[in-house]
Symmetry: C2
Subunit: 343 residues, 2 copies
Amino acid sequence: MTQAVGIARAHTNIALIKYWGKRDKDLFLPMNSSLSLTLEAFYTDTKVVFDEELTADSFFLNGIEQSKTEIKKISRFLDLFCEYTGERPFARVESFNFVPTAAGLASSASAFAALALAVADALKLDMTRQELSTLARQGSGSSTRSLFGGFVEWSMGTSSGDSMAHPVDDADWDVGMLVLAVDTQEKKIASRVGMEHTVQTSPFYPAWIETAKEDLKAIKAAIATKDFEAVGQITEHNGMKMHATTLSANPPFTYWTADSLLAQEAVRRVREELQVPAYMTMDAGPNVKVLCRVSDMKILIEALSAYFPSEKIIASLPGPAAYVLSEEDWEQSKIHFAKGSQG
Amino acid sequence: MTQAVGIARAHTNIALIKYWGKRDKDLFLPMNSSLSLTLEAFYTDTKVVFDEELTADSFFLNGIEQSKTEIKKISRFLDLFCEYTGERPFARVESFNFVPTAAGLASSASAFAALALAVADALKLDMTRQELSTLARQGSGSSTRSLFGGFVEWSMGTSSGDSMAHPVDDADWDVGMLVLAVDTQEKKIASRVGMEHTVQTSPFYPAWIETAKEDLKAIKAAIATKDFEAVGQITEHNGMKMHATTLSANPPFTYWTADSLLAQEAVRRVREELQVPAYMTMDAGPNVKVLCRVSDMKILIEALSAYFPSEKIIASLPGPAAYVLSEEDWEQSKIHFAKGSQG
């Protein structure tokens, strides 16, 4: 080949059973299996061009050439594929993040999933989606799950080869998510650093791992019977337990800000007043995500608007698995991005 | 006797190793031993008059006659002493709480300690202070520790008779506390209810109890060597672990408000900027208490005033053991209270 092109879209995902801690840092092997909901509203489009004429890798995000540090991460990731392809030519990688800045969501989940699929497309790799997820995993743990749509499990596996994602349920029922984008400042403690400190110092960590296993089993049973309340209760309990592990680390720390608490209080008030089931979860940042029924979204957003500017409340349906885009799709996507519809 | 009078003052205390959960609800037997610092700035003065002419118990708090529910709690508490005295006459109990409303501190610790000592004084009970603490305990767990001054341990004991407090260190060195009274609204979840829910549902509770034991041992060693940083680090870790148990309860809950987070962030910022050791702890409410060196109080208050109105920052030295007051002291105390110096 002289040139090989691949383009793909992957949606972000929010873990309902959290991934919080690695048992192998180099291979991104997690301490526990996790489960997420892929979100329709947020995604990354990525194009990779392998070209023998190129003299170095390059990486453009949202039209802006990235730093050497960022390019190095991409190069390291592309090198993982050499195991399947032998030596590779240099590549030009372009990405557009359709994650509203206001959402303050980590885009690494959708980013590495989109890149993995784009590479597989470009190199015509004969690889199952699950196998591909073991490679996405080594870019960013949570991206393992973004190769699939709906409810997705990332099985911790026994080694690098079987620590992979698989779809659990297409979530094509009355379930969705609201993101309360309370604070979009960059987090002070990277999740990589926070989880490592927690694993090393929290006396509650062993109980976290033990009960995360039970939570996973329970939520899969609840998803199977479409028991929304049970799914929500397990989600809220599991997420709060994850944050409890940061408080029990030594020294203790938290990803919560004052605005996170205001959002939590608003959700508690609104769900009590409306008598509508709505369950919170939070990740390694200050924003609050609310698992709710799609049919309740309108009434919830209205009530929450008493506490937040409505542009800070972003609703999402469940999202699809990552998929390959055509050149035409890609051109449309660039236009879409340029129009600023990314938020 | 036709009349027996006793008057006493007890100071409040803040736990550095928390009491969080009962193994016997009726006897107020705790799940773990705890350790506190008695505070000079906050106290309760109480006078009890047993009088054979009286036809019922009565209770006046800050000059206001209390409800039947409150009087019942007092009566039940006074009845505990009958084991030592046989039948008792009815009593009139008067208390003044010198706990600034703005501090939003629970006054039950100083209240039942002052009442216990006033009763012992009135009835001329031949009882050690430690023995008396087993009775105070049955009014309110934390009041067990308020019979002593400085650093005080409440040993969980093996039964009601030996679940008692004893002094650990007079704290007559460079150590004190700032109370950041961020929110003085009444707490939504009584500590009694919160701890019971936590004991019953938190998967982290066993590890909390296990490590609280280790924390107690470690903080006593640190107090013995006057190692302020170690005392502070253990305090902050233990307190945050207690709050982690509420997040891990099912359903999860928290005593923190948005203002609590603002206070925490201010303390983190100020101690980093000033490079002054200052350690946070919180109880079953939204306020933040800061263990610091007395010699650093001035600079800390100045820096924290950038974030809080200075009247919301209350400094305290370590406080003394509960003590008996004379009739003259009592009259002075009433005048003092009337002048509004209670805050």
